[in-house]
């Protein structure tokens, strides 16, 4: 990190905006194809009814909701890294927060699709919004789904704002270096940023303010997503630890996604100088800590169900482990509970490709987690008569695949239009590190007084 030259930062980052390689076009084409498949599936489903998605009684919810939770979860880590680490002044976030925020935004945009295609009557989806109408009908404010609609909208708008505000200084840099349509675009977006001190001061305040707003918002958003399940009386949905569990799970899968994109960007755009092993190490440690919280809440849920001896809950738990959905549950435990322990080892954390594959495993685990939250409890509900096993059909799977295509497509386009690494913050970081390293050491020694105490007090 110490070797980065000031001039190189702009050059490297701006280079990532130009002339994509062939691989880029291929991946983009695949993504667009997936999206088109998804559109076709949705049109088919729209025409014939939701039955073609192969949900049934009692599986009134399935993959659409799982996917919704998965994507909304993924959106949390962008905020975490960016906002919380900004507030706690952890400067290692700087090279990676931009793409993490972009990831946040695009996964919200992906997540928002799912409740819509999940609805039986998509064409009336605006009915869940409170708007004045001549029937004087309000939506039902008691419904967690309504809370959801409100929370997601707020979160999406705030995330866009956060991403955009944080990007203004960089857009100005782009503007100064661009030609053609890009020039016009960046000129418009950079709102006349000149880099004056007053601008910087206003910018800092705004940015911190949005961050302060976003942290509780992010927590509340996923708590509300959790309440879709927890507020019901379904066994194994009605779990008091679901709000923190969902938040932890969201951060977890989001961190894993950050690691994936971290390695990919580092490789594709040759950002080795910015996305260093040290940052990966920190990210991995953070992921590990979150994984442990998630593990604790997950195991705590199992244990407390068992502890309670509650008939309904226990039945679901038993069915989860030995029933037809057992492969999913065990797969989740293996991928999301056991696998993260690899990150306890420094050697592993420092191996980019190992981390890359691990992050994919973790995401798979978290995807399975969402599936096993939704499906098995529905399968073994209060009424044994209706117990049934349903695996998602082609339409649902197609739309799931399309959601990945959609997300990747948006992300790829973003990377080519906007700088995926924050230039100004990396410069700040380089500056601080260069100037602060010697001073830090002095401070450290200044604070260490135990030794003095030890010598004086004779602690043995």
């Amino acid at each position: 990190m110490k070797d980065i030259e000031w001039a190189r930062i702009n050059k490297d980052v701006l280079a990532s905006l130009e002339s994509p390689r062939a691989a880029f076009w291929i991946v983009l084409a695949v993504c667009i194809a997936l999206v088109l498949c998804g559109v076709a599936a949705e049109v088919y489903q729209y025409k014939h009814g939701l039955g073609v998605a192969l949900m049934d009684k009692p599986h009134y919810w399935q993959l659409y909701i799982s996917n919704f939770v998965f994507w909304i979860g993924m959106s949390h880590s962008g905020t975490l890294l960016s906002a919380i680490l900004l507030l706690t002044k952890a400067d290692w976030r700087k090279p990676i927060y931009r793409f993490a925020e972009a990831m946040t935004l695009f996964s919200i945009l992906t997540a928002a699709i799912f409740p819509v295609i999940h609805l039986g009557r998509v064409w009336y989806m605006y009915w869940v919004l409170p708007y004045p109408n001549q029937h004087t009908i309000w939506p039902n404010f008691r419904s967690p789904l309504l809370w959801d609609a409100a929370a997601i909208t707020t979160y999406a708008l705030s995330s866009i704002l956060f991403l955009y505000v944080g990007m203004i200084p960089d857009l100005a840099i782009c503007r100064d270096n661009a030609k053609g349509w890009r020039k016009k675009l960046y000129t418009a977006l950079s709102v006349g940023w000149m880099g004056r001190a007053t601008e910087w001061m206003a910018f800092r305040k705004t940015y911190v303010l949005i961050a302060c707003f976003l942290v509780p918002l992010a927590v509340s958003v996923h708590s509300i997503v959790a309440s879709d399940f927890a507020m019901s009386i379904m066994p194994d949905w009605h779990i008091t630890s679901f709000p923190p569990y969902f938040v932890a799970g969201a951060l977890y899968s989001g961190c894993a996604a950050i690691i994936t994109l971290f390695v990919m960007l580092r490789y594709i755009f040759k950002f080795e100088a910015y996305m260093t092993t040290e940052i990966m190490d920190k990210t991995a440690k953070l992921t590990f800590a979150i994984a442990m919280v998630w593990n604790f809440l997950n195991l705590g849920e199992y244990a407390s169900i068992w502890y309670s001896n509650d008939m309904f809950e226990k039945e679901v738990l038993i069915q989860k482990f030995i029933g037809p959905y057992a492969p999913v549950v065990w797969g989740m435990l293996l991928c999301a509970m056991v696998a993260p322990f690899a990150m306890a080892f420094e050697k592993f954390r420092h191996n980019m490709w190992a981390m890359f594959w691990l992050s994919l495993v973790l995401q798979l685990g978290m995807w399975l987690e969402r599936f096993q939250i939704v499906s098995p409890p529905l399968a073994s509900n209060h009424e044994p008569w209706t117990w049934a096993v349903v695996w998602p059909g082609t339409v649902q799977l197609t739309l799931t695949a399309a959601s990945f295509g959609w997300f990747t497509m948006l992300f790829l386009i973003f990377c080519k239009i906007f700088p995926s690494v924050s230039m100004y913050e990396v410069k700040e970081m380089v500056f601080h590190r260069r100037h602060a390293s010697s001073r830090d050491e002095m401070e450290d020694i200044g604070k260490i007084k135990d030794e003095v105490m030890r010598s004086e007090g004779g602690l043995a």
Binding site: M231, T240, F296, S304, G457
Partner: protein, 355 residues
């Protein structure tokens, strides 16, 4: 000592006697792991709280010996439902005693290693300490969860809430900090300490307490909201008993003392930076948490008994005062032994200088 309520006060005191050392070790370990520089000022003060373990152990034995007086389910009152294997008196006693001793031993070991750890110490020792410190959060969370379930959640055996464990031990983490800064304030006031601590320690503790206050409120509210919304009688009844029972004001008192009052004070940096003003939120949290534990322990019987701790029984005052005094005595003795107090001359000298 006939009333269940008296035993509840005893259990309440036990949990505090247990968590003071336990949470102290937790904070020592966490501050070490996140590399908080100010830990050097407080870590020995905190860890000297392990002196309370013997007190906790004696209280535990008394409580276990009291059997069904402390744990209604032991009296065969299983609320009409079969209980699972955890609700087994022998197993219960064994795991309580065994776990307590194991945790006690571990904490003593931690304290021992901590004394050998300093920036210029042998890297091997430092690494060893770090590894042990890494274990502490795990042990704290798991043991805390078990304690919360055994002593509070399953006072109604089939009442369950997976968030209860985190809610409980998170609350106890915070009350330790509250207690610690109160103690620190008075120690500083009397100039007893060998090396004075800085004011920023109060600010740091306050910041953590603020975060924990928000988390406490979140956990409490979410637990309540989910149960209220689901409205399954067996769950929400417990809350109703607390909220509408004879001691309803204690419920609202602990709720306010744990959430609004500390939150509204701790958000102001002026308060956070003032050791004297910090006494208010700290007392609020201390009292609030004490009542919180009491209300949860007593909740299954809330409509059977009309007992308000300290108001309706001198035994409560006696027990609490006794535990407090013994605790102070033990802690004081440990600090002396660890050389945390200045010599008499030093203290006198400093007092003199101040005067």
């Amino acid at each position: 000592m006939n009333s269940y309520a008296n035993w509840a006060i005893l259990m309440d005191n036990f949990l505090f006697a247990l968590y003071m050392p336990l949470a102290a070790i937790f904070w020592c370990a966490v501050l070490h792991l996140v590399n908080g520089k100010w830990r050097y000022e407080v870590r020995f003060l905190m860890s000297s709280a392990t002196a309370l373990f013997p007190l906790g152990f004696v209280l535990l034995l008394i409580i276990l010996a009291s059997g069904a007086k402390s744990f209604p389910w032991m009296g065969g009152d299983t609320f009409g439902e079969p209980l699972n294997g955890w609700h087994n008196i022998i197993f219960f006693d064994l795991r309580q005693i065994g776990l307590f001793l194991a945790v006690w031993a571990f904490c003593s070991y931690f304290v021992k290693l901590q004394k050998q750890e300093y920036p210029t110490a042998d890297p091997v020792a430092r690494r060893k300490f770090r590894n042990v410190a890494l274990l502490v959060p795990f042990i704290y969370c798991i043991y805390g969860t078990i304690m919360s379930w055994d002593f509070e959640m399953t006072q109604i055996p089939r009442w369950w809430s997976p968030i209860y464990g985190p809610y409980h031990f998170e609350s106890m983490m915070r009350v330790f900090l509250a207690f610690f800064i109160i103690a620190l304030f008075f120690l500083r006031k009397r100039n007893l300490l060998k090396r004075p601590t800085h004011d920023y320690v109060f600010n740091y503790c306050a910041q953590i307490m603020l975060a924990l206050t928000i988390i406490w409120t979140y956990a409490f509210f979410m637990q309540y909201l989910i149960m209220w919304y689901g409205d399954l009688p067996f769950e929400i009844e417990r809350f109703h008993k607390m909220m509408d029972g004879p001691n309803w004001f204690l419920f609202w008192a602990f709720f306010l003392m744990n959430s609004f009052i500390p939150f509204l004070m701790l958000i102001f940096s002026a308060i956070r930076h003032s050791p004297a003003l910090m006494l208010f939120p700290a007392f609020s949290i201390l009292m609030g948490t004490f009542l919180e534990r009491y209300m949860w322990i007593i909740s299954p019987h809330a409509d059977d008994i009309d007992h308000t701790p300290f108001f309706s029984s001198w035994e409560d005052i006696a027990i609490t005062a006794g535990v407090f005094l013994v605790g102070c005595f033990l802690w004081n003795r440990r600090m002396k032994k660890d050389g945390l107090y200045g010599t008499d001359e030093e203290v006198m000298e400093r007092r003199h200088a101040e005067a």
